[in-house]
């Protein structure tokens, strides 16, 4: 357990209701609560925005459609028409990560700053990609590791490299999101303790880190959007590799 005033304290999981499912710890925690809230908010956002939907959208409906079109175009540009069936998955991933990133900036625990969560999401993406690859191409999918056009004598080097880069995908995908979220929140936490620490030392000194907080906060909003986007676009790119067997 970290000290209550440590910038790391914000990442602590607090059990709200202990629960055991056949020997598996399934306790309802603050993270569970926030994930459920994000799911509820995302669903509410779309369903409420699409309530009384009109051909010419209003502001709220326009906003919902903006997200829809944004992900739909992202998927179409990266995977072509064959990728359409993965739209609900990519959309859910994007909204879930975006929701968790943003809600974490407003006092709630940032679920995406937990490596288990980001790794589980990335692992799911890579599993889907691999299953799709084998379903579409059978054992021919292994040829993905031997890029066409590469000289034969390079193959002993290329194939292990390709396999490693394929296997490292879930790690890079999850660590990128995790590290960005942790770094931003630690920075905000550290600045927060500076405000109190320096302000306690000499009142006006606390103003310096206090002034930096809105700037870092704005940057973190940008990072929250950007990391959700990066996760979604990489999912699309990996899906495209599997669907079209193209590098």
């Amino acid at each position: 357990m970290a000290d209550a005033h440590s910038p790391l304290a914000q990442f602590e999981i607090k059990t709200l209701m202990p629960l055991d499912l056949g020997g598996v710890d399934a306790s309802f925690t603050n993270a569970s609560l926030i994930m459920a809230v994000v799911v509820g908010l995302v669903t509410l956002f779309i369903v409420a925005g699409m309530n009384k939907a009109t051909i010419v959208p209003g502001r709220f409906q326009g906003m919902v459609e903006f997200f829809y079109e944004f992900i739909a175009n992202l998927l179409k540009e990266n995977t072509g028409p064959k990728g359409k069936q993965f739209f609900p998955l990519v959309f859910s991933l994007f909204m879930f990560i975006l929701g968790c990133n943003l809600i974490g900036l407003f006092g709630a625990i940032t679920v995406t700053s937990h490596i288990v969560v980001t790794f589980a999401l990335a692992f799911m993406v890579i599993t889907v990609v691999t299953v799709v690859g084998f379903m579409k191409h059978g054992t021919h999918y292994f040829s993905y590791f031997a890029p066409a056009g590469a000289p034969m004598w390079l193959m002993p080097l290329m194939i292990p490299l390709e396999i490693i880069s394929y296997l490292i995908r879930p790690i890079s995908l999850s660590v990128r999101l995790f590290a960005n979220m942790v770094a931003g929140h630690v920075m905000l936490g550290v600045l927060g303790t500076f405000v109190v620490g320096l302000g306690g030392l000499f009142f006006a000194l606390g103003a310096i880190p206090l002034a930096a907080i809105p700037l870092i906060f704005a940057l973190e909003v940008l990072v929250a959007l950007l990391q959700a986007y990066v996760f979604a676009i990489l999912t699309c790119i990996y899906l495209n590799d599997a669907i079209h067997l193209a590098h």
């Binding site: 357990m1 970290a2 790391l8 304290a9 990442f11 602590e12 999981i13 059990t15 629960l19 499912l21 598996v24 710890d25 399934a26 306790s27 309802f28 925690t29 993270a31 569970s32 994930m35 459920a36 994000v38 799911v39 995302v42 669903t43 779309i46 369903v47 699409m50 939907a53 009109t54 051909i55 959208p57 409906q61 919902v64 459609e65 829809y68 079109e69 739209f87 609900p88 998955l89 959309f91 859910s92 909204m95 879930f96 679920v111 700053s113 937990h114 490596i115 288990v116 969560v117 589980a120 999401l121 995790f178 942790v182």
Partner: protein, 163 residues
Amino acid sequence: MPQFDPAIFSPLLVWLVLTFVALYLLMSKLALPKVAAIIDQRAERIEGNLAKAEQLRAEAAGVLAAYEKAIADAKAGAQAELAKAGADIAAETAKREAEFGKRLAEQTRTAETRIKAAKTEALAQVKAIATDLAGGIAGKLTGAGVDANAAGAAVDAVVKERA
């Protein structure tokens, strides 16, 4: 870091799976079809309007072509009518001219005949008067009667000489 405490892995994963599956189902079955429906409807509407506009444009082009054809037909008809009228007038004129020429020639001929007759008659009368005058004048001058035939011969001789 609290993130690496293995005790939290299991509850996090369980609830991530539960919530994410719930989100996926809510999105794919409930939320996204709503958005897709309205977007499709809009696309259909736009496509329909475009098709309708295209159809109207084609119709307008057809009407314009028909109008232009009607104008051209009317022009051609008028030209034909004009040409026919011109030909009719020319034929009528030619006919009348020919008729008139014929009549004129006939009248000229009769007039000429009449003039010729009158001239002959006048000449004959002139000859008789001249003969009478010549006979009378000669008789007065000589005091003797002059033979009418001799007077006529003399007049004829003079006339011939002057002619």
